[in-house]
């Protein structure tokens, strides 16, 4: 198994990554590796450092020390837009949309970043179809429900046709049905791109997971399949507990 994985290209790597806020070591000496076309979930209790780690990857925070390497490029101190420009699609924990603009315009913004105007328009229509947002494409996004807004944001990620997708809690606040559909979508994205998904919802992780990384107190506690982690005593203690 491990030999097979080693043959694949490493696309995200962190070396001794650390992010300290004053005396708090939110992320501490993390060595993390993601291979091409991999779908990786990051889990861990609140305050484990998942979101901080995510923000270091996406350039929203500049790490205290260590390195982030995305497809051979050192992006440790890169700006967010520079990381996105490598072909990385990002969805943050708090929904970030162009609130006063229509669904159409939101998706178009993403498509038009890399494509010419004709291709951007057709890509926008395709994405809206794919996200089942057809009957609300002219609505202003701040009039939509929470779940719909999440999809508009996922649509923006997809419309950029990224090869690496970073999602921070994509199923947060979704109904069971919406969560299931999001899981389907993530599997679909995974046919084209590698993903890192930060999630709390264990049901959701079971729907999509292959390899899971468990964070605890700013460090990686273990990395394995979901079944193995469910059985592991340490992992259960720090996170799963009664919920598993």
């Amino acid at each position: 198994m491990s030999r097979k994985r080693d043959k694949r290209e490493v696309i995200v790597e962190t070396r001794n990554l650390a992010m300290h806020f004053g005396g708090v070591r939110a992320v501490d000496q993390v060595d993390f590796t993601l291979y091409d076309k991999e779908l990786r979930c990051l889990i861990g209790p609140n305050g484990a450092g998942k979101s901080t780690f995510f923000k270091c990857l996406t350039g929203q925070l500049s790490p205290t020390s260590g390195e982030v390497i995305i497809r051979g490029q050192d992006t440790t101190l890169a700006e967010t837009h520079e990381i996105a420009s490598l072909g990385v699609g990002i969805k943050t924990q708090v929904p970030n949309l162009f609130d006063g603009l229509s669904v159409d315009e939101n998706i178009w913004m993403s498509a038009r970043r890399w494509k010419n105007s004709k291709r951007a328009r057709s890509l926008t229509s395709e994405t809206i179809e794919r996200m089942n947002l057809g009957d609300m494409r002219r609505k202003i996004v701040n009039q939509l429900s929470h779940g719909q807004r999440q999809w508009v944001e996922l649509g923006m990620v997809v419309a950029a046709e990224p090869w690496l997708v970073l999602l921070d809690e994509p199923a947060a606040g979704m109904t069971h049905e919406e969560t299931a559909r999001t899981a389907e979508l993530i599997k679909e994205i995974n046919t084209q791109a590698a993903l890192i998904v930060v999630e709390h919802d264990m049901q959701f992780i079971r729907m999509i997971s292959q390899q899971v990384t468990v964070f605890h107190e700013g460090q990686i506690l273990m990395e394995d399949t979901m079944e193995a982690i469910s059985k592991d005593r340490r992992a259960r203690e720090v996170y799963l507990g009664s919920r598993a």
Partner: protein, 345 residues
């Protein structure tokens, strides 16, 4: 968006431009010369309002010192025109000086990631620095080329002349034509700009800067771009202003004018271009009318109007009128929209 879509989105812009053209040719026949000269000043101020409507309404950048670029344009024009002995190249110099200064200021502000509120403070401060600085330039020592800067008395601005003949100056009614044409062209340019990819990205950055960065847009560059363009347009207003009034004084940079520009855009409506232009004309005439009586204090009335708008018409005139019309037309509008959607999807 391809060319046809841009043109369709610009339909209202062309309608208003056409109204402007009709007004431009009809006004000199219907109005007295005194009114025409006054109008030229109002037009100059409305170009300033237009530039703030662009940078604040579309770019989301609250520039409290838009009048600085207006005044800078007026001074640059005047000094260049005195030195060149003609106005044509001086206009270009005015636009370039204001835009270059905006680019420099904007570079530090946007690339330094100064947040919105501080940006307002910084731009206002810069305006007031110009005010204090130029007031202290009285006397023969302060001159650029042949032009005395003139301290608080200001400088007499050379009138516009024909591009091919520097000794043939334009009469006030001709300056009115030039001003009106400049306003219409600036308006159509802004109307076009906000429908281009650049303009739409700026509007998206206004809505959510982080999201635009997550999509790979360098928001700093776009903000710098729209800030610089708006400064250039404000400078055109400045050139028209010192032509309408005949001179330029440091008072252009005072707090009153800086605040007044903001009021025009609030009253006219952020997110529209025609609203602030209309509001400038409206408030300019209201101020003139109030100047003719002594019962009410001018500033008091302006203050009441501002409070009225902030509390009761927070979106401003133009968006409120548009909302009202769309609401009335809603049934017909919806069915048409549905049909169009059916075709496209």
């Amino acid at each position: 968006m391809n060319g046809n879509d841009t043109l369709r989105a610009m339909k209202p812009v062309f309608v208003f431009a056409l109204i402007g053209i009709v007004f431009m040719f009809a006004a000199p026949y219907a109005l007295q010369l005194f009114t025409i000269i006054n109008l030229t000043t109002a037009i100059a101020l409305s170009v300033l309002a237009l530039s703030l409507a662009l940078v604040w309404g579309y770019g989301g950048i609250l520039c409290f010192g838009q009048v600085a670029f207006f005044g800078l344009g007026a001074y640059a024009y005047t000094i260049a025109a005195i030195n060149f002995g003609g106005s044509t190249w001086a206009i270009l110099v005015a636009v370039l000086v204001a835009a270059a200064f905006a680019a420099l200021l904007g570079y530090f502000v946007f690339f330094g990631r100064v947040s919105d509120v501080y940006l307002g403070v910084i731009t206002l401060t810069v305006t007031l620095i110009f005010f204090s600085l130029i007031r202290r330039t009285s006397g023969p020592d302060y001159k650029i080329g042949n032009a005395l800067i003139g301290g608080f008395n200001g400088v007499t601005s050379p009138p516009l002349n024909l591009p091919w003949n520097t000794s043939s100056f334009l009469f006030p009614e001709h300056v009115f034509y030039v001003a009106m044409a400049a306003l219409i062209l600036s308006y159509v340019f802004c109307g076009w700009l906000v429908n281009t990819r650049f303009g739409r990205v700026c509007a998206a950055i206004r809505e959510n800067e982080l999201r635009s960065e997550l999509l790979g847009y360098d928001s700093r560059l776009y903000k710098l771009g729209i800030f610089t363009i708006a400064a250039g347009i404000a400078a055109i207003g400045g050139v028209l202003f010192c032509n309408g009034v005949g001179r330029i004084t440091p008072d252009v940079f005072n707090l009153y004018n800086a605040a007044l520009t903001i009021i025009w855009v609030i009253v006219g409506g952020r997110g529209t271009l025609i609203g602030p232009i209309a509001a400038t004309f409206g408030l300019f005439y209201l101020t003139s009318a109030l100047g003719g009586q002594s019962v009410l204090n001018n500033n008091l009335v302006l203050g009441i109007i501002l409070i009225f708008f902030v509390l009761l018409v927070p979106k401003g005139v133009a968006p409120t009128v548009t909302d009202w019309f769309t609401k009335r037309r809603k049934p017909a509008h919806n069915s048409r929209r549905r049909r169009r959607q059916g075709r496209s999807t």
